[in-house]
Subunit: 209 residues, 2 copies
């Protein structure tokens, strides 16, 4: 069984939890509180020199980092991972876009405005850039989603999961999605997908029901 | 034949040129000067809403963006692209690491310190963060390369190409690689790979030789 090192309020960790839930893959979950330095201990750095979550133990002492790489690993061979040559590349295109243009802006805003007490004052100089670049990324997504229901291959894939994580948090950290109706409709579409779990879903809560 | 929209001095564009050269794939090259706004024209935005190079036309009016996704597309099915389940995921891990932890720091430093006149003054407040985070990324690479000749699968792959582009520019933009002997040895190893071309390689120069 996989072991997933994950933080409850991490959008990157949520991607993997959402993918595993959709795929019905059981796993052991270890909560790592990066705000308490738990991803910077010698033990954790030995598993992931980048000191980040999520991290998936795929075999004894073999660990895979980077949320989007983990999604490809767990979804490989399923309908969630497009394997046609151009479709695979297009899914990767959107997932690199997510890590390069969306997550560093909306993810940074979420981290400092929602998770860190006093973060708004500490990062006052940076917020304007995050907003500008975050809105630009949302504009690129809006343009695509105004013509397509999903990002790739006319169906729900790991590219949607990757982009969903931080986009669905944007309204919590000052972003106004009013001008992005196609993005809003897509967010609602993803939340209706079979196997969907919200970010605050706790497996043990479900087991106790 | 592919058409590649590329900028000579863009590290992300260089990745694709290096991959195509190694694979011996001919292509038509269109120079896009992003410093002159050529990636923000209506014609270019229609091809790539993100307004970035590189961009590969893979079929008439079908364009693929994001350097690392393009590398997967052009190298798919060759020895440059690991296709084993864990090896593919590990290659992606390093390529997402590159776009998330290396390029936004060393790439930003290269852009503002080497390409933009007066960039050092304009971005004075940001340089310290780029240096700190860039050195952290180099440290993660050093840890891996002190035990491995290449990033994945004990051989030269597109993960090496992706990481090489900005790492080999680091010394031009204030980074001192003195404390990273394994990174330096790897840079030299990549430059000796068959089919290697330097960043300033111009195809028409070779044709004229």
């Amino acid at each position: 069984m996989y072991t997933l090192y994950s933080m409850q309020r991490s959008g990157n960790s949520y991607k993997v939890r959402l993918g595993l839930a959709r795929l019905g893959i059981p796993y052991r979950r270890v909560e790592i509180d990066i705000l308490q330095g738990e991803s910077r201990t010698p033990e954790f750095i030995a598993m992931n020199p980048s000191g980040q979550v999520p991290l998936l133990e795929v075999a004894p002492n073999r660990h895979l980092a980077e949320s989007n790489a983990i999604l490809w690993y767990v979804a490989g061979g399923t309908t969630l991972a497009p394997e046609g040559r151009i479709e695979r590349a297009e899914a990767m295109q959107w997932m690199f876009f997510e890590q390069h243009s969306l997550e560093p802006n909306i993810g940074a805003a979420y981290f400092w405005l929602c998770l860190i007490k006093g973060g708004r004052d500490l990062q006052g100089h940076a917020i304007e850039g995050w907003m500008e670049n975050g809105y630009r990324a949302l504009g690129v997504m809006e343009m695509h989603l105004s013509k397509h229901d999903y990002f790739v291959d006319k169906r729900f894939t790991i590219a949607d999961i990757a982009l969903y994580a931080y986009t669905h948090l944007a309204h919590q950290c000052d972003f106004d999605l009013g001008r992005y109706p196609a993005v809003r409709a897509w967010l609602e579409r993803i939340a209706r997908e079979p196997g969907y779990v919200p970010m605050d879903f706790e497996p043990h809560m479900a087991a106790a029901e």
